[in-house]
Symmetry: none
Subunit: 134 residues, 2 copies
DNA sequence: AGGTGGTTAAGGGAAAGTGTTTAAGTTTAT
DNA sequence: ATAAACTTAAACACTTTCCCTTAACCACCT
């Protein structure tokens, strides 16, 4: 069975980083350029984000598809829309308006720019009213 | 930024599976062989395991210092030493003797020459028994 | 003996990921 | 303003993953 997502190199950099070393210091220790350390660290952070996203998907499997936030939609209007769709199914979203907006933006920062939805976002809901994204 | 670990194909299979379809049925729907569906599903499950492992690593990032391999130590005696130290802390090293020696040498080739430790090497251990170096 | 559901192995072509260098850019702190 | 810390982009060799096919194998079940 395969290891985790992070390469040995990436783990190494993260550990040194955790200790508070600069990229330059790490570069000297592992004998490469600081630019490379930066790249490796960035890749590591991305891999961690991908791991999170992957497990998010599992929740969408348990939940049912609720609706789609269409490209161009005002983010501030999303909660009202989501609440309405949930009510149609007799479900109560377990986030208030503010929390929901935050959750939307936090879950997929690159899919929202300012108040705008940049690309279609699939919304899923579980029986207990938790919200997930596809 | 890239999406999650799972490919579209893998998600597709997982969704059908969740609905209770057999691999044969899915194979017909997505126009391929059941062997392929099996392979894709297996890859998906592996990817999910990798995602979990990756996030596990984050929690163990702040591992504790285990011991120091002192300069001049015979590399072949290192594993026994490390095992003993780990046991003192109630931790089980997740590498057998051979794997551990390889990991030691691979991690920092310049710190070992032949069977000898050239300079002190700090050993760290995480809660899941993974070993890394300072 | 068939039928069904699942798994494995070998192999191939396309695609994606990794580590690296070089070279440029930005932010931040002294 | 200078240096240090950090980020980004492009290009490269190399390795790995992904999806696919074919062919075989195992465990049930009636």
């Amino acid at each position: 069975m395969k290891q985790g997502l992070l390469t040995d190199r990436q783990k190494e950099v993260l550990r040194y980083r955790k200790k508070g070393l600069t990229q330059q210091q790490i570069a000297e220790i592992i004998h490469t350029s600081k630019a490379n350390v930066c790249t490796i660290e960035k890749a590591a952070v991305e891999n961690i984000a991908r791991a999170r996203e992957t497990l998010e998907f599992l929740y969408t499997l348990d939940g049912t598809h609720l609706c789609t936030l269409q490209q161009g939609l005002d983010l501030l209007k999303a909660p009202e829309f989501i609440y309405a769709e949930a009510e149609k199914r007799g479900l109560k979203v377990k986030y208030d308006t503010i929390s929901l907006i935050n959750r939307l933006r936090d879950a997929n920062p690159e899919r929202f720019s300012g108040r705008q939805v940049r690309e279609d976002v699939e919304i899923y809901i579980s029986k207990d009213g938790d919200i997930y994204f596809g």
